[in-house]
Symmetry: C2
Subunit: 460 residues, 2 copies
C-alpha cells in the first residue's frame, strides 16, 4: 500500500449503500461499480420486471443531451435510443384545432420521448450484469439513523425488518426521500417543499389503425389555454400519453369538473380536436388520480463523508422543462468526474459536489416553473412565436454569441445557473429589439441589423 | 337547545386537545376554557414548577402591546407587569465604550423584559385554577395520525406510551412541532425551514452590589459590530442576560474562538466595557450551547375542522424584533375573536384564522430578519440615528399620518403585513427627505417642512 493511498481512507472494501433503485439510483450504482466499488441498492418497490410489479402511471420522460451523456458514460446510450422517439418541435393546438409549430433547435436537434418504466428496466438489466452491484427489492426504508449510521429496512415480501449499517450512503429515493427526512431533523438543515396550485391528470390519445399515430408522431403537442394546458407525448405503440395540468380550485378547475358530462362538455369546448381521439376520456378522468406538483430544495446535501443526496431527493422540480431526470442523470456525471479526480476522498467529493451542483439545481427549479408559464400561455401568442423565430435567426447569424435559452438547457452541458443567467440577459435584449419588428422579414432591416450588432457588441 | 345552535355541530362535550403547554399552549388553554370548552394539554417537559424541572436557557422575552392585550384578555396583565422590567430605549455601546441612545417611542412607551420561565409558571398557575383544563406533563408526542385522529404519547415518567384520540387538536408545540411534522407529510403542504448563518450564545453580566444593575436597568443594550452583535436585557436580580449573535463560520466566528484566551482577547477588543462585568465569560462561552436561528413558514395551518397550528409551530421567527411570543399571543387573541363570532363552527374558525393570520406571520418573519440588520449594523450609524430622530419629529407633527415602523409593530395592533407595507413606504419617503438634512435642527428649515408636507399630501 503506497503512502498516497494511506493518506486518504481506503474504502475499497467498504460497500456503498444506495437507497432508491429508480432511474438515478440504478445509474449511480453502475457508475460506482465502474469505479471499483461494491454497491448494495435498496428499492422500496418490487422488481419492475417481475409479475408482481404494478406500473405506476407517469408523465413520459423527455431525454435530452444531459441525460444522454450520462447514459453514454455507462455505454447504454445506443440501446436506449432504439426505443426513444425523437421530438423535433412543439405543435400547438388552438381552440379551433388550428396548429402552429415551434422547432426545438436546429433541424436535427430533438428531445426524446421514453417510457420511464422501460428505461428503468433497461438500467436494472445492466445492473444485473454487474457483479459488484446487488439490488434488494421490496425494501421500505423505515428509519435512517445518521448517528449510528444504520438503516431499518422493512421487507414487504418477508414481512419483517432488518437493520443495516452503512459507511457511505447515497439517497436517491426521490422527492419524498427518507434519507433527506432524517437530515431535515438535524440542526441548520435548510429545507423547503412548495406545491403549485395545479394538479395533473394522465389521459390517453388512442393509437390509430395498425398502431399508427393519430397526430404528428415526432412532436410534443401542447393545447395552451392560458391558465391551464394539456400536453401529449408519443408512445411506440401509436398512442400518446396526455397530461392535463389544471388548477385545483377556481372557475375552471378539478373542483368544478365533477361529472362525466361536465368533463366531456369542457373538453369538447376547449380541446375539440383532441376529444375524438380520447375514447376513454371520462373513465380515465375519474379513475386516474389527480397528482400534485412539488418543488423541493434543501441544503446541505451531504453529511460528512457519510451521506449524499442525489436526484429528486435533493432537488425535485416540476416537470415542465423535461429536465427532472436529466438533472438527476447529470448528477451522476458530475459525481463520476469528482470520483475520478479525488479517488476515495469522499469528504472532498461530497463537499465539491454539493457546492458545484446546488446553484444549478436552484436555477433548474426556477426554469421549470418559468417554462410552465411559457407552455400554458406564451406559446399561444403569435408575438412570442415571432420572437422565437427572430432569436433563432440571431443565433444562426452569431452562433458564437447567442444560443437560445431552451438550447442551452436542453442541448448543451452548460451549468444550469449559467444558462438561466444568459437566458435572462438575452430576454432583456429581445425586449429592446422586438418593438422594431413586426414580421419575420423585418429581421433583415438595416436598423434592426444595426441594433442587434450593437446589443451583441455590448455583451462582450 | 335553539335552532341556531343546532345549525352548527355541538361540540360542548368534546374535549379540546392541545399539544404543547408552553407560553402559547397554556394561554390558548385558558382562552378555550373561558369559551366553555374542556381542554386536555400534553406537555413534553416536566412541570416547570416542580423540582425535576431543568430550566432551559433562553433569551429574555420582550413583551409588548400585542402580548399584553392577550394577557389582559384572561385578566393576568397586572400580575405579569409586577415582575416585568420596562425598557424605554436602546442603548448602543461602541468599541470604545461610548454610549448612544434611541428611544423606542414616546416617553412612556416601553417594551418589557420578562423571564420566559417565570411567565410560563404564572400561566400554568392560572391553568391550575381552571377546572376545565387538565395539563399532563412528561408527555412526549411520538406520533400524530391525522387519519385516525390519534396521538401516541410517551410518558417519560411512567416509561410507557398511550394512544389518545382527539376531535379538535391544537398544535402549540413550537418550532420543531410534531403536529406540523405529521401535516408536512400530507399532499400539498407547503413548508420551509431556513437557518441564518448565525448562531447565538447566552452569557451573563453579573449583578452589582446589593442586586444593583451595573449598566442602565431600563434599556435594551446593544453592542452593534456590523457583522455581529451582543445584546443585554435586565433581570430582576440585577444581572443581565446577554446574547452574542455571531457567525458560525468566517474570520470572526464561532469556529475561530476555540480557546478561553481567544475568547477573552476577542471580547476585550470588541466589547471592552462589557468584559469587566462578565466574570464567568470564558466558562459560559464553552459550557453554554451555540444555538441556531430558524425561520419556519408553512401552509395550510389547519386540517379540516380537526387540527390547527398556532405560535411557533406555524410561524417560528428569529428573535430580533422581540415579536415571537407576542405574535403567538396575538394568535390567541385572533382565535378568541373568531370563537366569539363563529361559536362551534370550527371549520370556519380555522379557515378564517389561517387566511387572516398567514400574511401577517410572513410579514413578521421578514421584519425579524430586517431588524437583525438594523441592530447589528445600522444603529451604529449616526445618520441612521438622525433619521430616527427626524422620523419621530414627523410623527409628532403629523400623528394621524405617520407612526414609525417600530411603533406600528410594537405599540399597535395593526396587522403585521400592514405595518410592514407602511414602514417600507415611509422608508422611501425618508430616503427622499434625508439628503436635505444634516442636523436635527434642519427639520425646521422651510424647504424641509415644505417637502415633508408635500410627501404626506401624496400619501392621501
Amino acid at each position: 500500500m503506497s503512502a498516497a493511498t494511506l493518506a486518504t481512507p481506503n474504502t475499497d472494501n467498504e460497500p456503498m449503500t444506495v437507497v432508491g433503485g429508480g432511474l438515478v439510483g440504478s445509474l449511480l450504482a453502475l457508475y460506482l461499480a465502474r469505479h471499483g466499488h461494491t454497491v448494495q441498492v435498496f428499492e422500496r418497490r418490487p422488481d419492475p420486471r417481475s409479475s408482481e410489479s404494478l406500473e405506476g402511471r407517469s408523465i413520459n420522460l423527455a431525454l435530452s443531451d444531459r441525460g444522454w451523456r450520462a447514459l453514454q458514460g455507462i455505454g447504454v446510450e445506443e440501446a436506449v435510443r432504439e426505443v426513444a422517439i425523437p421530438l423535433y418541435r412543439r405543435v400547438m393546438h388552438d381552440q379551433r384545432g388550428q396548429l402552429t409549430m415551434q422547432p426545438y433547435g436546429h433541424a436535427e436537434q430533438a428531445i426524446y420521448s421514453v417510457s420511464r418504466a422501460g428505461l428503468n428496466k433497461r438500467l436494472l438489466d445492466l445492473v444485473d450484469q454487474e457483479p459488484r452491484v446487488e439490488v434488494l427489492f421490496n425494501q421500505q426504508c423505515r428509519r435512517v439513523d445518521l448517528r449510528s449510521r444504520t438503516l431499518e429496512m422493512f421487507d414487504a415480501a418477508a414481512g419483517n425488518s432488518q437493520v443495516h449499517t452503512y459507511r457511505h450512503l447515497f439517497g436517491t429515493d426521490g422527492a419524498y426521500s427518507s434519507v433527506r427526512a432524517a437530515m431535515q431533523k438535524t440542526d441548520r438543515f435548510n429545507y423547503s417543499q412548495q406545491y403549485l396550485n395545479y394538479g395533473y391528470k394522465e389521459l390517453t390519445i388512442a393509437a390509430g389503425p395498425n398502431n399508427s399515430w393519430a397526430i404528428e408522431k415526432n412532436a410534443l403537442h401542447i393545447w395552451p389555454r392560458g391558465q391551464y394546458m394539456m400536453i401529449a407525448l408519443p408512445n411506440l405503440d401509436g398512442s400518446f400519453n396526455c397530461t392535463l395540468f389544471f388548477p385545483y380550485e377556481g372557475p375552471n378547475s378539478f373542483e368544478t369538473l365533477l361529472t362525466p358530462a361536465q368533463v366531456r362538455g369542457f373538453f369538447e369546448e376547449v380541446f375539440p380536436d383532441a376529444v375524438p381521439l380520447m375514447p376513454e376520456l371520462e373513465q380515465e378522468f375519474f379513475e386516474n388520480p389527480t397528482s400534485s406538483l412539488v418543488t423541493v430544495r434543501c441544503y446541505p446535501w451531504s453529511v460528512a463523508d457519510e451521506v449524499l443526496l442525489l436526484g429528486d431527493a435533493s432537488h425535485a422540480i416540476v416537470p415542465f422543462y423535461g429536465q427532472g431526470m436529466n438533472a438527476g442523470f447529470e448528477d451522476c456525471t458530475i459525481l463520476q468526474e469528482l470520483m475520478t479526480r479525488h479517488g476515495d476522498n469522499w469528504l472532498t467529493i461530497f463537499q465539491e459536489f454539493q457546492q458545484q451542483r446546488k446553484p444549478n439545481a436552484d436555477a433548474m427549479a426556477d426554469l421549470a416553473v418559468y417554462n410552465f408559464e411559457e407552455m400554458r400561455d406564451r406559446v399561444a401568442d403569435p408575438r412570442f412565436l415571432l420572437q422565437k423565430k427572430i432569436e433563432s435567426k440571431i443565433s444562426a447569424q452569431y452562433p458564437q454569441q447567442w444560443l437560445p435559452l431552451y438550447s442551452q438547457v436542453t442541448f448543451s452541458h452548460l451549468p444550469y445557473a449559467e444558462a438561466w443567467a444568459n437566458g435572462q440577459a438575452q430576454e432583456r435584449i429581445m425586449q429592446r429589439i422586438m418593438p422594431h419588428i413586426q414580421t419575420e422579414a423585418d429581421f433583415e432591416l438595416p436598423e434592426v441589423q444595426a441594433l442587434i450588432a450593437q446589443e451583441l457588441a455590448h455583451r462582450e
